[in-house]
């Protein structure tokens, strides 16, 4: 978490921001001064202040993605001084505060860069590929209203806690941006592990991992070469142990898919 000097003195910085009008047009860095900033201001609030100044003179404000501004929605997605989500461990871009920067410094701000996340404008990228992976298998099929009593299946606390560790992923994509291969393994393994750990997730365990991984490959995400830049950049500190767990699941599922006898299809229309 943050561990910074308590500072009360206002600071001034220069921000070097990636500006790109649209996916089709080329982008470039542009410098903007940001003066007299309260160190307790967040980085995004600093961008608000710069944008207000730009709008006042009729210039196009810097487009950046944000919503909750408390590290949970996964919308914010900046590369700050070369690091996805900035200098601090375990926080999202929106949880980066100006007290992390020296007075007079130049702060470089770029979008997440990865082939499966094309730039839409300035600092905003298209991460809909993550939704597509989810749609391929990131669920337990349970029709509304058909569930049994919630306490019918006790789940050991450790199992539930581990599933929760994985479930905390906010779908931001920093893991992909941090990886030189643009691999989505951390993201996918978090969902696969959460559902695979729970008894409710067992029936679809094999098809889930096979389908999600196939979709991930199809969408152009790269391979994992065990550098673990992903978990280092992850704002929720999702552990790369989940990748190993998913690999085991994947191998077992592929094996079973290859050798499992298939049941006779359907039972026909009946009388």
């Amino acid at each position: 978490m943050v561990a910074e000097k308590p500072s009360t003195k206002n600071i001034s910085v220069t921000i070097r921001v990636w500006r790109q009008p649209s996916a089709a047009q080329p982008g470039r860095f542009v410098d903007y001064p940001a003066r007299d900033l309260n160190p307790n201001m967040s980085l995004l609030e600093m961008l608000d202040v710069v944008n207000d100044q730009l709008e006042r003179i009729g210039e196009d404000p810097i487009a950046f993605a944000h919503d909750c501004r408390e590290g949970i929605c996964g919308t914010c997605s900046l590369v700050i001084d070369g690091k996805p989500h900035g200098p601090h461990h375990g926080v999202a871009s929106c949880q980066t505060y100006m007290r992390s920067f020296e007075d007079g410094s130049v702060i470089t701000i770029e979008p997440f860069r990865a082939r499966p996340f094309p730039v839409i404008k300035d600092l905003i990228t298209d991460r809909s590929a993550f939704d597509k992976i989810q749609q391929a298998g990131g669920f337990i099929s349970i029709r509304t209203g058909s569930a049994c009593d919630a306490n019918a299946t006790p789940i050991p606390k450790e199992t539930a806690d581990l599933a929760m560790d994985a479930a905390q992923c906010i779908g931001c994509g920093a893991c992909v941006a941090a990886c030189k291969n643009a691999s989505a393994m951390l993201f996918v393994s978090a969902k696969v592990s959460q559902l695979g750990l729970l008894p409710q997730g067992q029936p679809e365990r094999d098809s889930r991992v096979l389908n999600m991984v196939a979709k991930m490959d199809e969408l152009g995400f790269g391979n994992c070469t065990n550098q673990y830049e992903c978990s280092a950049a992850c704002p929720k500190l999702i552990s790369h142990d989940f990748i190993a767990r998913m690999n085991r699941d994947y191998i077992a599922a592929s094996f079973r898919a290859a050798f499992k006898p298939k049941p006779a299809a359907g039972s026909g229309g009946g009388a």
Partner: protein
């Protein structure tokens, strides 16, 4: 004048829903594909409805302004979700949850709706667990619970401090499954900018593609709006920055009544404001009040001292003092006002004097000793107890303490948190009947966007419950009853003149915003509006203040349209334009909220009129004159809206003075 028929079914309270449900009209399964439902919003309410309706076989289109349904503001809910499971065997029941919620709302909600909510609450937990929501568990493997404000039982289910995230991801996974199967058409980064009404029925919406700037027409047999709350009218709030009123406001302008717009929830435990650059306020979950004790110094002169230097006897644990039976777990409206009174007396803490302490020292000691005893430590040192206690508190609330640290750079393990009330939830919203249908037939409204279940104050952990109840367990039945009255495939063509007119209306607003080319950025106006609302329509309200605010907001509106500067064009992604489009609606809504607060000459729940209070500062309701819902009806630009009334007829519960003492 709008017709407001609540359509509450007859019969004993506990049987209404069951009997009604089994008598609703059904749509033939083979015909369901011939009905399209356009759903705007995919928070808890929208996503659960979209998944369930498509499972039932309807064609569903789901539209969100976010880049993914998983980003909806529901994701930020921290504390938990209520359900009358009585797993703790502490005497909970459907009736008790019903009663607590009704009383918590200061007897300004519909009895029948609240009872139904309590009934289906138990199904919600079952559904979520089956989806793989990793709720907190006890060592024996069963589900754990905690307590929330306004209740004397432990009925709140939670997933660390991220309950909303886990519930939303559950609903999102159900929705994703249907999208993947081709059963739901998902439309992201589209903002609803108008409702299309054909022959008096809601038949579609107009959206603006936030990436290309283009307008799109969507037609359906019915429309569901589940776009969340409008608390950002105050600018500073615990809401995500993108939360807006545009969908419901534009529906209001097409004839849907807006109910109780002034009912706003101010949450007592938020991190105080620190500067005018601030863009949002951060909630510290109510669950902290299970263990944190709230206090201010007894003496004004102690306020600037370090809290550790103020001895126990000079501290005023005011909630425990004033409300001994509920103590630190008094409901939100009551706790917020008490904190404000302390600060008004000059006993607030922190730089601005607008803050009170939320102190964990005692909890750390208590847990430390418990853990030491469990581990059979003999004569543990003070340091050891502190260490064990901090670890125990960390396990319960670690992520909240981290958030607090990130924002304030202070450790709440070492010194008490400073907190102050902030805008958090809006109980008001579009008026709906028992079927969750608005007065415009075919328009259903779910989740925080409607007004239905929380009366004048919402209890903690009941918004998540309501959103999921509406989407999973209510609208899937009630919408069938409406659709069964329509011919299959009867939705209009998007070439119909009503679609054209609505699109032109939305486009003309965008055009005017871009044409203003004035001197001030959009945020300037949002901040000004927020300040007016907070000062005059916030935690306490007066006739004089509200009258003034109505005038001032009128002026602000003119100034906005004359002097806002929205750079760029409408033909591509333009975030300044997105904000301007939303702030334009907030300004108009703000004025309506003040009108509503002015007309309601009583105090109830979150609505506190200084003229109407008991000598001890508690809310003084006027059941004779105001035991009703106020549903405002648009009368055209420049005309004063009409205040319609739906009387609240309590058949089964006695409206009594709400006491938490």
């Amino acid at each position: 004048m709008a017709t407001l028929n609540s359509n509450v079914p007859p019969g004993p309270l506990a049987d209404k829903w069951r009997t009604y449900k089994s008598n609703l009209k059904l749509v033939n399964p083979a015909n369901k594909r011939k009905y399209e439902v356009v759903i705007v919003g995919a928070g808890l309410a929208g996503a659960s409805a979209a998944a369930t309706l498509s499972e039932l076989g309807y064609r569903v289109k789901c539209i969100v302004f976010h880049d993914s349904p998983r980003r909806a503001h529901s994701i930020a809910a921290q504390g938990g979700i209520n359900a009358a499971k009585n797993y703790q065997n502490d005497g909970d029941s459907v009736h008790r949850l019903f009663y607590d919620t009704l009383k918590g709302g200061d007897y300004r909600a519909r009895e029948s709706n609240v009872h139904r909510l309590a009934e289906v609450s138990v199904n919600i937990i079952d559904q979520c667990v089956a989806q793989g929501v990793p709720f907190a568990r006890e060592y024996g493997g069963l589900l754990a619970n905690r307590s929330f404000g306004g209740a004397q039982v432990s009925r709140t289910f939670y997933a660390r401090g991220q309950t909303g995230q886990q519930l939303l991801l559950g609903a999102y996974s159900a929705l994703s499954k249907q999208v993947g199967a081709g059963a739901v058409e998902l439309v992201t980064q589209h903002e609803m900018v108008d409702l299309v009404v054909v022959d008096g029925h809601a038949r579609g919406v107009i959206t603006r593609d936030l990436v290309t700037g283009k307008f799109h027409r969507h037609s359906g047999e019915a429309v569901i709006i589940a776009t969340g709350g409008y608390g950002n009218v105050f600018n500073l709030s615990t809401y995500a920055r993108g939360s807006n009123t545009t969908a419901i406001w534009r529906a209001y302008k097409r004839g849907a009544c807006f109910a109780n717009p002034c009912y706003t929830q101010i949450h007592p435990t938020c991190i105080p404001v620190s500067g005018d650059y601030q863009s949002k306020l951060t909630l510290m979950s109510e669950s902290l009040r299970n263990d944190g004790r709230i206090w201010v110094p007894k003496k004004n002169e102690d306020c600037k001292k370090a809290p550790a230097d103020i001895p126990e006897e000079d501290r005023d644990y005011f909630l425990e003092r004033i409300y001994p039976s509920f103590g630190n777990l008094a409901p939100r409206d009551v706790s917020s006002r008490a904190a404000k009174r302390m600060c008004d007396e000059g006993r607030g803490v922190g730089e601005t004097g607008l803050g009170v302490y939320l102190d964990f020292a005692e909890a750390i000691q208590r847990y430390g000793k418990q853990v030491a005893a469990r581990a059979n430590l003999v004569n543990p040192s003070k340091e050891k107890i502190l260490e064990l206690g901090e670890a125990a508190v960390k396990e319960r609330y670690g992520n909240l303490f981290d958030i607090y640290h990130e924002i304030t750079n202070e450790s709440a393990y070492k010194q008490p948190m400073r907190i102050y009330p902030a805008v958090h939830y809006t109980m008001g919203g579009l008026w709906v009947d028992y079927n969750l249908m608005s007065n415009v037939p075919g328009l259903f409204v779910l989740g925080e966007a409607n007004f239905s279940d929380h009366g004048a104050n919402r209890l903690g952990a009941s918004a998540l419950m309501q959103g999921l109840a509406d989407g999973y367990f209510v609208v899937p039945y009630t919408i069938g009853n409406y659709l069964a009255t329509l011919k299959p495939n009867s939705r209009p063509s998007t070439d119909a003149p009503e679609f054209k007119a609505a699109e032109e209306n939305a486009a003309s607003i965008v055009k005017r915003l871009l044409a203003a080319k004035g001197k001030e950025p959009v945020n300037h106006y949002h901040k000004k509006l927020g300040k007016l609302m907070w000062d005059y329509c916030g935690m306490s309200r007066t006739k004089e203040g509200l009258e003034k605010a109505i005038l001032e907001i009128g002026k602000l509106r003119e100034e906005f349209w004359a002097n806002v500067n929205v750079p760029g064009s409408g033909d591509n992604m333009n975030q300044a334009l997105e904000r301007a489009n939303r702030v334009a609606d907030f300004i108009e809504l703000g004025q309506l909220m003040c009108r509503d607060a002015l007309a309601r000459e009583e105090s109830c729940g979150g609505h506190f009129r200084e003229e109407h209070q008991y000598p001890d500062g508690e809310c003084k309701r006027d059941d004779e004159k105001f035991a009703h819902v106020a549903a405002w009806e648009f009368q055209g630009e420049g005309s004063v809206p009409l205040r319609n009334i739906e009387p609240l007829n309590y058949e089964f519960t006695k409206m009594s003075v709400r006491s938490y003492k």
